[in-house]
């Protein structure tokens, strides 16, 4: 594999500089356009059994209200159902308490959108199954969701598994509209991501084995349909998992007719590719509202199978109109530096050796596994600012909201 530094393109050099330990500075493009931002609200919420409708309404008010954007409109919520089987969880806990967004959050959001006058609420996720066609509602039943209650929270509530065509006859192609696409110029997606007026990313506040953290931007990785991207040829040695071989490692190009990579010779290292890819996805399908559920969550990884993961109760809810700013604030409440670089937590990684190709374990030019900071990539692409000093923070101050994920993960948090 080529030296990671040589793999930087000009666009990367515009975006990134200074890989010195402990710092990842960002250079703005020549036009020096200030990255957009929007208020972010942080709330401390002790339990899913509290009045989340009232809580969310308050937070929406704090960020300036969204009523005008959803009244009479179709609101699409892409929820985070990691693994999607619903069976992956710690013994005695629900997926909603660990790796999934919680049904009470989704139900409350549905109710609030309905109160604000949304015409239709669509709940979306791409389930990870070999066989497509199982209703998304059945996936939710696997975590004990009261699907009927969510359906009754608004006049029209629909569910769609976006891992394939769904109810449409063709996929929608959405172009990356950020300042500078990194990996792909466009993506072919389930129609639901185009057929909506207001798009919400409902994420879980978690660490991530390959990306350090997974928040509202990473949540959108799940909008890429495996059934389409998996149609491409699979050369010997390529990962059996569609998303890995096409997106994470770039071993395979998408099938013909689907937007191809901008530069198939660019860096194949996952920690380099994925933050940029996620930025592209968010550029293709902009997030109108980011919701991050950290009331209860899994600490130390994105799913139950990672050793050392723990169930935690951060008691946090973070809401914002700008996904980069919202993720930055969320990272800060997790105890991380939102502008951290690849040599710092949470971006200094420890991936399972038997689950990744050897060339993914220690990239050339580095001494360890890493991921670049997705929020910083978003800032570089002009999607938003990850600079806390430029973000209008509402609700609970960060210093009063911090739940140190790293300390809890390592068992070093104060009792």
């Amino acid at each position: 594999m080529e030296d990671v530094r040589n793999a930087f393109s000009r666009r990367d050099l515009l975006a990134l500089s200074g890989l010195a330990a402990g710092a990842l500075a960002v250079k703005r493009a020549a036009a020096d356009v200030a990255a957009p931002t929007a208020p972010v609200s942080v709330a401390k919420v002790a339990s899913y059994d509290l009045d989340l409708v009232a809580q969310i309404e308050q937070m929406f008010d704090q960020i300036g209200g969204i009523g005008n954007q959803v009244r009479g409109k179709t609101v699409a919520m892409k929820v985070n159902l990691t693994g999607s089987s619903g069976r992956g969880r710690h013994v005695g806990l629900t997926a909603g308490q660990t790796s999934w967004v919680h049904p009470n959050v989704v139900g409350a959001l549905t109710a609030v959108f309905a109160k604000l006058g949304a015409k239709r609420v669509r709940i979306l996720e791409s389930t990870f199954r070999k066989k497509y066609g199982t209703p998304l509602e059945d996936t939710l039943l696997n975590d004990g969701w009261d699907v009927n209650a969510i359906k009754n929270a608004a006049s029209i509530v629909e569910f769609e598994d976006t891992n394939g065509l769904g109810s449409a006859q063709q996929y929608s192609t959405l172009k990356v509209k950020s300042r500078q696409p990194f990996i792909f110029p466009a993506f072919s997606l389930n129609h639901s991501y185009e057929d909506c007026d207001f798009f919400v990313s409902v994420a879980k506040m978690k660490n991530h084995e390959e990306l350090g953290v997974t928040l509202s931007m990473k949540n959108l990785f799940g909008i890429t349909p495996e059934l389409l991207y998996g149609l491409g040829p699979k050369p010997p040695g390529a990962s059996q998992w569609v998303r890995e071989r096409v997106f994470h490692y770039g071993q395979v190009q998408p099938p013909a007719g689907v937007p191809q990579e901008l530069d198939p010779t660019s860096n194949r290292y996952e920690g380099w590719r994925m933050p940029r890819l996620l930025t592209d996805i968010c550029g293709a399908r902009p997030i109108d509202l980011a919701i991050i559920d950290g009331i209860e969550a899994i600490i130390g990884g994105e799913g139950a199978g990672m050793p050392g993961t723990k169930h935690g109760k951060p008691g946090l809810l973070v809401v914002g109109r700008n996904c980069v700013s919202t993720d930055a604030v969320a990272m800060a409440t997790m105890g991380y530096n939102p502008r951290a670089g690849r040599n710092e937590p949470p971006f200094r990684l420890f991936k399972a050796s038997h689950e990744h190709p050897p060339d993914q374990l220690i990239p050339p030019g580095e001494t360890h596994q890493y991921a670049d900071n997705t929020a910083m990539m978003g800032e570089a692409a002009g999607l938003g600012t990850a600079d806390l000093s430029k973000i209008d923070l509402r609700g609970v101050p960060i210093k009063d909201a911090v739940y140190d994920y790293e300390a809890h993960w390592k068992g070093q948090a104060p009792v």
Binding site: T82, G83, S84, S85, G86, R87, G88, R89, H90, V91, G92, L93, T94, S99, F128, R129, K130, K131, D138, L141, N142, D143, G144, W145, D146, K234, P236, Q240, G301, E302, G303, A304, G305, M306, P307, G308, T309, A352, H354, E355
Partner: protein
């Protein structure tokens, strides 16, 4: 009372009741009742067993390994005090397995035999059978003599014994070996089997040092698949599961009872030293635990008729001597209902009623024809690479055959976990027949009889599960939930529109059984 080998079938048990013995009026009446019901009294199928290890010999035996803690030693040594029989009142336990012989010195063995003899006499007066546990090293001839003298109802062999040991106990001895190899016993005609099982448990893979993916399910250790693996015919027979509970695991005792009972077996109840000491002292907490065990046992025995229901499944699993039990274990864990079919009984007619067949072993020409005919008529055959044309890259390939198809695996033999997982994709929900939602730490078992369907669920986690949804093929008007803790509860049923019935269990604490009619 003559002893006889279990293989010869149970015989009438004749109460040797000497009116000169000191029987209270209470037990004289009971003994009279027994004498009117000799078949019931002697029917091992009615025995609800409990390992009742104790006496000085038990302490000697355990001194070779891990000795009981100080507070429990007195309880173990004096376990055959008559007062301990009082613990059995109000419980269905009617068969005690007592420490009888470990191959110790003659004096120690004799002392134990005399202790057991008296204890067994008192137990017999209460209608309780007594079986002597024999450990390796024992002298079979001496054991046989002592057992006859003590009028034991039989002997249980716990451990690895030299060949011929059971025969040396005498042709009349009722001998129940605790087997360790289930596969070899599966076709046995023995009317009662005792099998070494596992401790029922649910654990996170990460806690077991296993690194898995984000959607990794808890690992469940269960004996449900083991018990049902002996159900090859229509008749039920008692299967006893031998395993020690984990007292530090909340709800472990009741889980042990249910884990063996769900598919019609019985746990050889074993109590740990802490519980034993507490019971000996009549501690409130210990008695509460004991009562919970009794509640679960009673639930099992009160619904004994459920054992006559036949296992449900549209998937047939073809068994032979080389078949790995891990397929059965993992299919059960994945909530895939199945029925077993002996390879020796594979015929076209025996496949009727199935919609899919798991046939891992390389088929003979005749077997291949039967399976091909099955697939051509619309069935699914799941086979290993010996079927032919295995895929080069993918784990399996589906090959159309007539109206049906064959799924041929690449790996030889196919990985049991992969097969179990792939069944969720290979079998449509309507073929699966039973769909259960939100049971990652539970195992389900479906059976059917008299146009009724029984879906049993056992939760292996220490916390209840909220909202379990069940869908089952067919149209049912009523669903009633039975649990050991609460009165039965009628559940609402809903037709799903594709010929299935759906219902919701609001909360599953441990053991639940839904009867659909």
């Amino acid at each position: 009372m003559p002893l006889r080998l279990l293989e010869q079938g149970p015989q009438h048990w004749h109460e040797a009741c000497n009116p000169g013995d000191e029987l209270s009026r209470r037990y004289l009446a009971f003994a009279t009742l027994l004498s009117l019901c000799p078949v019931w009294a002697a029917d091992p199928g009615r025995w609800v067993p409990a390992r009742w290890d104790g006496g000085p010999l038990e302490l000697t035996r355990r001194a070779k390994g891990q000795t009981p803690p100080v507070e429990a030693r007195e309880a173990v040594a004096r376990w055959y005090d008559p007062a301990t029989l009082g613990l059995l009142e109000g419980t269905p336990i009617n068969c005690l397995l007592v420490t009888f012989s470990i191959g110790a010195g003659a004096e120690a063995e004799h002392q134990q035999h005399q202790l057991v003899k008296e204890y067994a006499r008192l137990a017999r007066a209460r209608g309780i059978a007594t079986l002597g546990i024999v450990y390796p090293g024992a002298n079979p001839e001496a054991v046989a003599v002592a057992a006859r003298e003590a009028q034991l109802d039989g002997l249980v062999l716990d451990g690895e014994f030299p060949a011929g040991f059971a025969a040396r106990l005498g042709t009349g001895a009722l001998v129940i070996p605790i087997a360790r190899d289930a596969a070899s016993l599966r076709t046995s005609k023995t009317p009662l089997l005792a099998i070494e099982g596992v401790r029922p448990d649910a654990r996170d893979l990460s806690d077991m040092g296993i690194r898995a993916g984000a959607s990794a399910e808890p690992w469940i250790e269960s004996n449900i698949w083991l018990v049902r693996s002996f159900r090859l015919g229509t008749e039920w027979r008692p299967i006893w599961i031998n395993q020690r509970p984990n007292p530090s695991s909340q709800g472990d005792y009741i889980r042990c009872v249910a884990d063996s009972a769900v598919a019609g077996g019985r746990w050889m109840i074993a109590i740990d030293d802490d519980l034993r000491a507490g019971l000996f002292r009549k501690d409130h907490g210990a008695l509460t635990s004991w009562r919970s065990i009794a509640t679960y046992l009673k639930f099992s025995e009160d619904h004994a008729q459920w054992r006559n229901f036949q296992p449900y499944g549209n998937l047939g699993v073809i068994l032979d001597n080389d078949f790995s039990d891990e397929y059965l274990n993992l299919l059960t864990r994945r909530q895939v209902p199945y029925r077993l079919l002996l390879r020796s009984e594979l015929r076209a007619a025996s496949l009727s009623g199935f919609q899919a067949v798991l046939a891992i072993a390389p088929p003979t020409e005749a077997e291949r024809k039967i399976l091909c005919d099955f697939a051509e008529k619309g069935g699914l055959v799941v086979a290993g690479p010996s079927w032919g044309d295995p895929p080069k890259d993918d784990p399996y390939a589906e090959v159309p055959l007539g109206k049906g198809r064959v799924a041929v695996y690449k790996e030889d033999p196919p990985n049991p976990e992969s097969v179990a997982k792939d069944m969720m994709d290979l079998l449509d929900p309507e073929v699966m027949g039973l769909s259960v939602f939100n049971v990652p730490s539970a195992i389900t078992y479906a059976s059917a009889g008299d146009k009724r369907v029984l879906v049993q669920l056992l939760n292996y986690a220490g916390r209840p599960i909220d909202r379990v949804t069940i869908r089952f093929n067919g149209s049912f008007k009523t669903a009633r939930l039975y649990t050991p803790e609460n009165p039965s509860l009628d559940l609402s049923v809903r037709a799903t529109g594709n010929g299935r019935t759906e219902l919701l269990i609001p909360k599953l604490t441990a053991w639940g059984a839904v009867l659909l009619e």
